[in-house]
């Protein structure tokens, strides 16, 4: 029975691939390719991002305040791809730069961490809205 429901959900998701609109403020091509046929996967990934990024950014900013380069590097390394998964490839590139500069213990990394914080927080309304719409789409398919 569970398998039948899963299959039905998948079919509905495939049928609605074209119908689901990804947020234009994010990397639509990446999101459509990655989650278009599997919206519940998309909802899960956005959910993890939304629930963890604030904590990670706070930790990154705190370590920047203390010029704790190894911790900056470790956090940047850990989160850099997370931005890609929610259609923010530009922030992934920025975080990769932070990782490199932190490895080299360059002072300029501090301002880059600030920039990342500002840009990420600017993007969060779009990310959160995308998360809600993905959740709604998945719920909609289940209710069908």
């Amino acid at each position: 029975m569970d398998k039948l429901v899963d299959d039905l959900t998948q079919t509905l998701e495939s049928d609605n691939r074209g119908a689901f609109e990804f947020d234009k403020g994010l990397d639509v091509t990446f999101l459509a390719t990655t989650y278009g046929a599997n919206l519940s996967f998309g909802a899960k990934m956005f959910g993890i991002f939304v629930s963890s990024i604030h904590h990670e950014l706070d930790a990154l900013e705190a370590s920047a305040t203390h010029k704790d380069y190894p911790t900056i590097r470790a956090i940047a390394h850990k989160i850099k791809n997370n931005f890609t998964w929610v259609g923010l490839a530009e922030l992934s590139t920025l975080t990769a730069q932070i990782e490199t500069l932190a490895r080299q213990e360059k002072n300029s990394v501090i301002s880059l961490v600030d920039t990342l914080g500002i840009k990420c927080r600017e993007c969060m309304p779009s990310v959160e809205a995308q998360y809600r719409s993905l959740q709604a789409a998945v719920r909609g398919h289940r209710d069908h």
């Binding site: 390719t33 996967f41 990934m45 993890i48 991002f49 850990k78 989160i79 791809n81």
Partner: protein, 230 residues
């Protein structure tokens, strides 16, 4: 294919899990967010395949490989292309630059299955001609045509070959199921003999070297039908 995922990033784990769900042959046996946990698991269980992140705190993926007592197939994952060189050095099955997307995962799985097939073919051809027994901390190769007989002694089996004796833990029945050599024949609940080594057969016993081996009544018909009696 028994598989585990090792990555300290939850989103990467989730992405890999999603990929694995698309590949029916994969049986996901464990998901670990640090290498130490994976290490403890691998000390207890044998797996076929591991997706392994390179850069993790405490213990890196490469350190984990260095500490393994056996090597399953490994697909290294990293957001850093530099590790592709290490991947070559470690002779892993594939290296995927993160983020791991479905198409790239499927390509890696094709390589995994190809290697899995090759490993099985080698194992099968080996099983047709020889076996290995653990002895004094070594694995000793015993070609089937050098083995005289197997004797059950309690929870152990004596393996008598032309070059000496080895004792292995196990039951004769389980061993019989794994021997694919047609000249091995069970002649008694405690003996499997190599028919090519039989010197003579008399009533309810046969001789191999100087050893007299009993033939049980139940096994006698099979023994008689296995020899070329004129």
């Amino acid at each position: 294919m028994k598989t585990i995922l090792v990555d300290d990033n939850l989103m990467e784990i989730e992405a890999l899990r999603n990929c694995c769900e698309s590949w029916p042959e994969i049986n996901l046996a464990g998901v670990f967010q640090d290498a130490q946990q994976a290490m403890s698991f691998l000390n207890k269980e044998e797996i076929d395949l591991m997706f392994l992140d390179v850069e993790m705190p405490e213990m890196t993926g490469l350190e984990l490989i260095d500490n393994l007592s056996y090597l399953p197939q490994i697909v290294l994952t990293s957001s850093n292309r530099e590790y592709a060189y290490e991947a070559l050095e470690y002779e892993v099955t594939d290296f995927i630059k993160k983020p791991v997307l479905l198409k790239r995962f499927q390509k890696a799985m094709e390589k995994v299955e190809e290697r899995h097939k090759r490993i099985n073919e080698v194992a099968l051809s080996s099983a047709a001609t020889e076996l290995y027994v653990k002895s004094d901390g070594k694995l000793v190769r015993l070609p089937y045509n050098e083995i005289l007989y197997f004797e059950n002694v309690g929870d152990y089996i004596k393996v008598i070959s032309e070059r000496g004796m080895h004792i292995i833990y196990g039951a004769l029945k389980a061993l019989a199921d794994r021997l694919s050599y047609p000249r091995f024949l069970k002649v008694h609940r405690s003996y499997i003999v190599n028919l090519d080594k039989v010197v003579d057969i008399e009533d309810n016993s046969l001789v191999i070297g100087k050893k007299v081996i009993p033939i049980s009544r139940a096994h006698k018909p099979m023994v008689m039908s296995s020899i070329n009696l004129i």
